[in-house]
């Protein structure tokens, strides 16, 4: 028997049932970690094969149909089964209740159900991809999907539909939790920014995901029952599909990036030992991004044949939505001013995030300029841009958060030297992979091409070389994290000198998180001459 003060959420109960039927938010977070890692691996294999294929201008590994299935699989798995759920379901699940001083999410059983939706949807989709794959691209454009697509499209789309319930229920759970379960003294303006940005993300999850669900159902209705909705052959409108699809999929970009911004807003003050510069601005920027993010979907359709006036309005609004993101970058930078800055692995990942996100964001300004978008949309410029946001931004943020909360989650430290090495490797590998793609794009190399004119080859070769470095940078953590679990030294409650409530309880936390509900006495990220002032009052 463990003495009570040794009891953690990890050893409180044992056996496979205690995991698969758990309602502890921390255990569910670990279940999600398992799923996310699995899907990241699958999507990553597809990415590796894509980069291998593109080393030569002609077909290298297989037929054009093989290549088309490859990038479809990469897109679908990475978007819906890695990026969208990544941070909210893992770190959000684990940390958010602790950050606000709660014992669990508002609806623990719903939380478990969400995981089952996610895993079921994921397995259905993976089955479709393995049974022979689908060749639509992750965007399912019409009328291609209804009349021309081959393979197990119906199954894959159904899988995505199912996993959507996971998104909706998770968002709902977070919103209710933040409203209802804050500890005494935890006012809205004392919430850590990670909570605010997860809250903003949750708003998008519950407002946008139903639109995706409807769109997918309509797609299925047309493909299976030939109900005329999107295909001109049946009297439908292909542009309607794009409107509906991007009404979800643009906000989805913010589902991916807002949580990462939240992570960075945690890490930068902690490692600069200074309050976050412009806390309220950063907070309201998250809400502004979530709101304006719903009004810019038409920037994906500047050459699709939407009306001139729609394009003008969407261009303007796209510039508008970039303002709050820019403000955040300025605030993170200003936070460093007069700090006591440390460069542990989480901070290096955070620096990487800021650098890559800045480049991704700035190239977004090119795309919002209408005539430039006309030239570079559907080329590698777009591919580079959104990978800078979604891999350089969202994935870097994921790794930053993972390294930051790892001691809390596992109760173990990892070798910081290797972690810093991995962060730097990923940063350089990333740039070598995706920067050449900006040049390729402006040169006119279209995306989703297995074969391309030979003069583009050099940039593809560089990109593939970078990808191998990047893959290494992403694989390294697997090893030192495994080592950490087996051999790593024990982590104290607050190894980073942070101020949040999650750091005022043991690592790993006890099942009920806090021995007694903490009382919050001050705003987050308060430091006195570089010394943390904990948010919780003495119990």
């Amino acid at each position: 028997m463990h003495a009570p003060h040794d009891e953690t959420y990890l050893n409180a109960r044992v056996g496979i049932r205690s995991w698969l039927l758990t309602t502890d938010h921390k255990r569910i977070a670990l279940l999600y970690f398992a799923g996310i890692t699995f899907f990241f691996f699958i999507g990553g294999i597809a990415a590796t094969l894509i980069r291998l294929e593109l080393i030569t201008p002609g077909p290298t590994l297989g037929s054009p149909d093989f290549y088309n299935r490859l990038f479809t699989m990469h897109g679908i798995v990475m978007v819906w089964f890695f990026l969208i759920p990544s941070i909210p379901t893992t770190m959000g699940n684990f940390i958010l209740p602790m950050m606000i001083g709660a014992r669990d999410l508002a609806f623990p059983r719903l939380n478990l159900l969400s995981w089952y939706f996610y895993i079921a949807g994921g397995l259905i989709t993976i089955a479709a991809l393995l049974l022979g794959g689908i060749d639509t691209g992750w965007t399912f454009y019409e009328p291609y999907s209804t009349f021309y697509a081959t393979g197990y499209l119906i199954l894959a789309v159904f899988g995505i539909f199912v996993s959507g319930f996971s998104s909706i229920l998770t968002g709902l759970n977070f919103i209710v939790t933040v409203h209802k379960l804050r500890a005494p003294g935890m006012t809205w303006y004392r919430l850590p920014v990670f909570v605010w940005s997860t809250y903003a993300t949750s708003l998008i999850l519950i407002l946008a995901t139903p639109v995706l669900a409807m769109t997918l159902l309509m797609l299925l209705a047309e493909r299976v029952l030939h109900v005329g909705l999107f295909s001109p052959q049946l009297g439908g409108d292909p542009i309607l599909f794009q409107h509906m699809f991007w009404f979800y999929s643009h906000p989805a970009v913010y589902i991916m990036i807002l949580p990462s911004m939240g992570v960075i807003s945690e890490i930068v003050p902690v490692f600069a030992r200074k309050p976050l510069f412009g806390y309220k601005f950063v907070v309201w920027c998250s809400i502004a991004i979530a709101a304006i993010g719903f009004l810019v979907w038409g920037h994906h359709m500047f050459v699709a044949g939407q009306s001139l006036y729609a394009s003008l309005a969407f261009s303007f609004l796209s510039y508008l939505v970039a303002v709050p993101s820019a403000i955040k970058v300025f605030n993170w930078t200003a936070t460093l001013h007069e700090g006591w800055i440390r460069f542990d692995a989480p901070m290096l990942y955070a620096f990487g995030f800021i650098g890559l996100f800045t480049i991704g964001g700035l190239t977004g300004l090119f795309l919002a300029a209408l005539p430039i978008d006309v030239h570079v949309t559907d080329t590698y410029f777009i591919v580079a841009h959104f990978h800078y946001i979604m891999v350089g931004g969202a994935v870097m943020g994921f790794f930053a958060g993972l390294h930051y909360w790892w001691p809390k989650i596992t109760g173990r430290l990892y070798p910081d030297y290797w972690a810093r090495f991995a962060a730097i490797l990923a940063f350089f590998g990333f740039n070598l992979t995706f920067f050449p793609q900006f040049i390729l794009g402006y040169l006119g190399m279209p995306r989703r091409y297995q074969s391309y004119p030979p003069e583009f080859q050099i940039w593809h070769v560089l990109s593939s070389a970078g990808a191998s470095i990047l893959a290494f940078g992403y694989a390294l953590p697997l090893f030192y994290f495994a080592w950490s679990i087996l051999r790593g030294s024990r982590a104290s409650a607050n190894p980073w000198g942070a101020t949040g409530l999650e750091w005022s309880t043991r690592s790993p936390p006890p099942p009920e998180n806090f021995a007694a509900t903490p009382t919050v006495v001050r705003a987050p990220y308060q430091y006195d001459q570089g010394k943390p002032c904990m948010q919780a009052g003495d119990v």
Binding site: P64, N68, D135, G137, T139, Y141, P143, Y144, F147, Y148, P232, P238, K274, G278, F281, V303, A304, G305, L308, S315, F316, Y319, A326, I327, V329, F330, T333, L336, H337, E338, G339, W340, I341, R342, I354, G355, T358, I359, L362, L365, A369, L370, P371, I372, H375, D378, I439, L443, G444, P446, R447, R448, Y449, S451, Y452, E455, I458, W459, V461, G530
Partner: protein
């Protein structure tokens, strides 16, 4: 391998305009990211843990900074939006007397039909210095007509005409791509845009063999499909004469007025009940599924040819 190509070929003055805008944005982006990265590294070094830099001046009143950089960002962004938009508007104002070429996209080729009846596949020959207007249709899925050297592309959505125009200023051969994923051989749906001297172009047209013009082929089809039975004098049904219709305003039965452009003529043939000319019974049968995109182009060319003389020519 071919060295390091840095900049795409430039085949038109418009491409130069885009390059200038792009270059300007590059400068703004370089300055902004340069400033951010410099400050990040500068602070990171100066205020690293353990350095004894002076830390007495920590900023307390942050809102001045917030207002300043929000306003500055907004201003720069609005400037970019306006600049981009003014250039973009040009794409929507084709010159009146452009050479008109019909393009049909299908899995996996681009077919072009010149006014003189010349046809080509995955190639497009145009004269240098002349405005060219493409009227494009797709026979199956969405394709996108993309010529990087002109810095323009346009999705071609099945079920409707899309148009785009350009004026190539430099003789040469330039890549023509399909930019919208369209299935198995998407990557092979393309070829070349060949920009020629007017003389060479005239020779090239001639070399394609003695063709009947597109409009004349359309007139032939107009009879074959039975259009003339209704639309010409002595028909059994009361139907509008199509002389002079093209390019002029048409009052519709629902009270609205539309300009009869390619899209309208096309819709009139495929979906006659959609827009019924005022004063006529909606008796015209639909030809959807009976007339191919190639034939549609001919019919449209014919109806266009009997429209009023186009201004400027």
């Amino acid at each position: 391998m071919h060295g390091f190509p840095w900049w795409p070929a430039t085949a038109s003055a418009y491409a130069g305009t885009i390059d200038f805008l792009f270059g300007s944005l590059l400068v703004v982006a370089a300055l902004t990211s340069g400033l951010v990265f410099f400050l990040l590294l500068f602070f990171a070094n100066k205020y690293r843990h353990g350095s004894n830099a002076d830390r007495s001046g920590a900023i307390r009143k942050t809102w001045r900074f917030e207002v300043a950089w929000t306003a500055a960002t907004l201003l720069v962004f609005v400037g970019m939006a306006v600049w981009g938009s003014t250039i973009y508007l040009r794409l929507y104002n084709p010159p009146a007397d452009a050479l008109q070429i019909f393009i049909v996209g299908k899995q996996w080729m681009w077919k072009a039909q010149h006014p003189g009846g010349q046809r080509e596949i995955n190639e497009l020959h145009v004269p240098v210095g002349q405005d060219v207007r493409l009227v494009m249709a797709s026979q199956d899925v969405i394709h996108s007509f993309f010529v990087p050297a002109l810095r323009i592309k346009q999705d071609v959505v099945p079920g409707r005409y899309e148009t785009m125009w350009f004026r190539a200023d430099k003789v040469g051969r330039y890549h023509l791509f399909c930019a919208e994923y369209c299935g198995t051989d998407h990557a092979h749906m393309g070829g070349w845009l060949t920009v020629m001297n007017p003389r060479d172009f005239a020779n090239w047209l001639e070399d394609q063999g003695g063709q009947t013009t597109l409009a004349a082929q359309g007139e032939e089809l107009f009879r074959r499909y039975g259009c003339s039975g209704c639309h010409e004098s002595g028909g059994t049904v009361r139907a509008p004469h199509l002389e002079g219709v093209f390019g002029s305003p048409v009052p519709l039965s629902d009270g609205s007025v539309v300009i009869a452009d390619e899209r309208y003529v096309r819709d009139s043939i495929l979906n006659p009940k959609g827009q019924v000319a005022a004063g006529y019974a909606p008796v015209m049968p639909t030809f959807a599924g009976q007339v191919s995109e190639d034939d549609l182009a001919k019919l449209v060319a014919y109806i266009e040819s009997i429209g009023p003389e186009r201004s400027g020519s």
